[in-house]
């Protein structure tokens, strides 16, 4: 059965063409801000009607892999996350590009994406039933504490400025409450008949906060920007990261892959949660936590390995339990159902050949992705040499197009503009933007699971500390919140002492440190 499945992909030129084309289109969708994996899979789903089951699923899987990975390109080069999964990639990929290491950052991200992706496929093949059983142990409270744990990345990002970081995070969480409430569908903070009743989309928030605010800031700092020297991106060999450096980060790669796979299998929380959790864990376990957010290669590895490792994991509940964990997984499941395949515990017995065909396609799509993105790397890096006064208006047009294309409503485009202005004001007032975006992305699931948990247990919160899984997540959350804050306070004291002794220059931006 296994060899038949593998052969059905490798010996079929049509299937190979689907994987090749799908990966390329996926990369394009992932790299353009506003276009996402869901849109890519949705667009090509009708096309699979006319294809065989294995060809159709190979095309959809390749689109999925390409789009998740493609998000790293705009996240690093433009500091705009192409997908929610690559929000964390911006934190270190962006600063690396700023100091002329854009090529190295992209190369490394591509390579670790491949490693994370391929290991997750192997895990999918051998551990599917076991992983599915583990996912079933999660009730609403376990999910809520798991998402709360992912939110600890906010502490990592705001170690030095806890007050401003928390204000930003709570503002993001508030934005997520606008629109229809979970469980009751009561419309909050919006007229019930307006487009706002559906809430804000994560695309408009991400593009507004990250992209539009930067474009507006460029206009306000035009003279300063003109005086900045043009950064030359260093040429890279291979994937930019040396074999030695990769080996040095083996522990981090394994840690991030495991986190990605585990988070991937939990329905409802996807690549973004995995990447954030992995980033927090990497910072806490790193020997150089102070470099995180300033262009740390470890931060980049943690984010990109984990978000691609979720791709294999996300297939587990979809295939073995028939539960689609994300929008993309739901579309992939539709692809299976279109071809008369019913996902569930019996799928390996009834559709074994197709299953192993899908696994082969996933592995192959990862291989195609790593080769294709590496060969396109010189073109990506060229983007950095385009003058900002030309590049930024073009990006704006792409952002508007991406926002409009998601739902075909002008409301999303207007929201993008409004959040761009709010993001610009936040930058001006030194309020970090990232916590707001993270709060916005994670809060809806957190609220839904917490409230479901409270209702299911009739208001009994004791499960939060009697359930081993909840307890582990809560303890880890406390540790992960405390460590960056303690480190931040220590650093701040050390710096102040150094300034008092005249050993270090006083930094302007830290005058109003929290």
């Amino acid at each position: 059965m296994i060899s038949e499945g593998i052969k059905s992909v490798l010996l079929s030129p049509a299937c190979l063409a689907c994987i090749l084309g799908g990966t390329f289109i996926g990369i394009v969708f992932g790299s353009v801000p506003g276009l996402s994996a869901v849109m890519a899979v949705c667009l090509f789903l009708p096309l699979t009607y006319g294809l065989t089951a294995v060809n159709g699923m190979s095309l959809l899987c390749a689109l999925y892999i390409g789009a998740i990975s493609g998000g790293l390109i705009s996240a690093i080069l433009l500091k705009i996350p192409g997908t929610p999964s690559s929000i964390v990639t911006v934190f270190d990929g962006g600063p690396m590009a700023d100091r002329g290491e854009g090529g190295k950052a992209i190369g490394t991200a591509i390579l670790v994406s491949f490693i994370g992706g391929i290991i997750s496929v192997v895990a999918l093949i051998f551990l599917s039933p076991l992983l599915a059983k583990f996912a079933l142990k999660f009730t609403a409270y376990e999910y809520a504490t798991c998402i709360f744990f992912a939110m600890t990345v906010i502490a990592v990002l705001t170690g030095k400025q806890p007050i401003m970081g928390l204000i930003s995070a709570f503002f993001g969480i508030f934005l997520s409450t606008v629109g229809s409430a979970p469980l009751t569908s009561v419309v909050r903070f919006a007229p019930t008949t307006s487009s706002m009743a559906g809430g804000f989309s994560s695309t408009t928030i991400m593009i507004g906060f990250f992209a539009i605010s930067e474009i507006l800031e460029y206009g306000f700092n035009y003279n300063k920007e003109q005086k900045k020297p043009i950064i030359k991106t260093a040429k890279i060999r291979g994937y930019g990261i040396s074999f030695k450096e990769l080996i040095r980060n083996t522990r981090l790669l394994i840690q991030s892959t495991i986190i990605g796979i585990i988070i991937g299998i939990l329905p409802g929380i996807g690549g973004n949660t995995g990447a954030m959790m992995s980033y927090s864990a990497a910072q806490v376990t790193s020997k150089h936590p102070e470099r995180f957010g300033k262009g740390s290669i470890e931060g980049l590895i943690a984010s990109e390995t984990a978000n691609n490792a979720t791709t294999g994991g996300a297939m587990v509940p979809m295939l073995t339990l028939g539960i689609p964990g994300s929008g993309t997984a739901a579309l992939l499941m539709s692809g299976l159902i279109i071809h008369g395949v019913q996902p569930g515990p019996m799928i390996f017995r009834t559709q074994g050949v197709l299953m192993y065909g899908i696994f082969t396609a996933l592995a192959l799509a990862n291989i195609v992705m790593v080769i294709m993105e590496r060969s396109l790397l010189p073109i990506f890096v060229k983007l950095l040499s385009v003058p900002k006064n030309i590049l930024l208006p073009i990006i704006t047009v792409m952002c508007v197009l991406g926002c409009f294309s998601a739902n075909h409503i002008i409301f999303d485009v207007i929201c993008m503009f409004v959040f761009g202005v709010i993001g610009f004001l936040m930058r001006k007032w030194k309020i970090p933007i990232s916590p707001a975006v993270i709060g916005f992305v994670l809060a809806p699931s957190f609220e839904r699971y917490l409230r479901t948990g409270v209702i299911n247990t009739r208001g009994n919160l004791s499960r939060l500390y009697t359930s081993p899984i909840c307890l582990v997540f809560l303890i880890l959350s406390l540790v992960f919140i405390a460590i960056p804050i303690i480190r931040g306070v220590k650093d701040s004291k050390a710096r102040k002492a150094a300034v008092a002794a005249g050993a270090a220059p006083e930094e302007d931006e830290e005058l109003q440190e929290d």
Binding site: I167, E217, V397, L511
Partner: protein, 164 residues
């Protein structure tokens, strides 16, 4: 009269605005307290936590700002001429983007995008360094290429506006 700004002034203003925002969220959310499901935390729970937290945190920040007597932090600096030009350029960019977004449907993708690109590229390039030909080419060719890609290849619908 010359414009003057100080870091302390900006921080105090932003803190007050954040306190007002937090208080608004907190009190506005009271209307969602109605219990619709037994044992539920209600729809008001999360917004009130957010509003309360924003107001309290901003208040702490305001107090810290008021107590901070650091000379460099309190000193006001005169806004220079270059900064005023930048301010106008920034405000111009906001107005232009706003106009682009609000006319996107009525003028259509092609016309609004071409106009936006032309004006924005001109606004963000210094007077002596403007390449008119390049600006015109980008303003016309890019929207056309994007239109072809999205509408003809990917089958997306884009507003046609006055050309429709």
């Amino acid at each position: 009269m010359k414009l003057k700004t100080s870091k302390k002034g900006t921080d105090i203003l932003s803190s007050i605005l954040l306190i007002l925002l937090g208080a608004f969220i907190f009190f506005y959310a009271i209307r969602y307290h109605e219990v619709m499901l037994t044992n539920d935390l209600t729809d008001a729970f999360l917004p009130q936590v957010c509003g309360g937290a924003i107001a309290v945190l901003a208040l702490v920040r305001l107090i810290k700002c008021l107590l901070n007597k650091d000379e460099k932090y309190c000193a006001s600096h005169e806004v220079e001429r270059g900064e005023i030009t930048d301010l106008l350029r920034g405000l111009g960019s906001i107005a232009l983007l706003g106009a682009y977004v609000f006319t996107y449907r009525n003028l259509g993708f092609l016309v609004s995008t071409a106009l936006y690109l032309f004006i924005q590229l001109t606004l963000l390039t210094q007077k002596g360094k403007r390449h008119w030909l390049l600006t015109v080419i980008i303003s016309i060719v890019l929207p056309a290429l994007l239109y072809l890609l999205f509408v003809k290849v990917l089958n997306y619908t884009l507003p046609t506006g006055i050309l429709g």
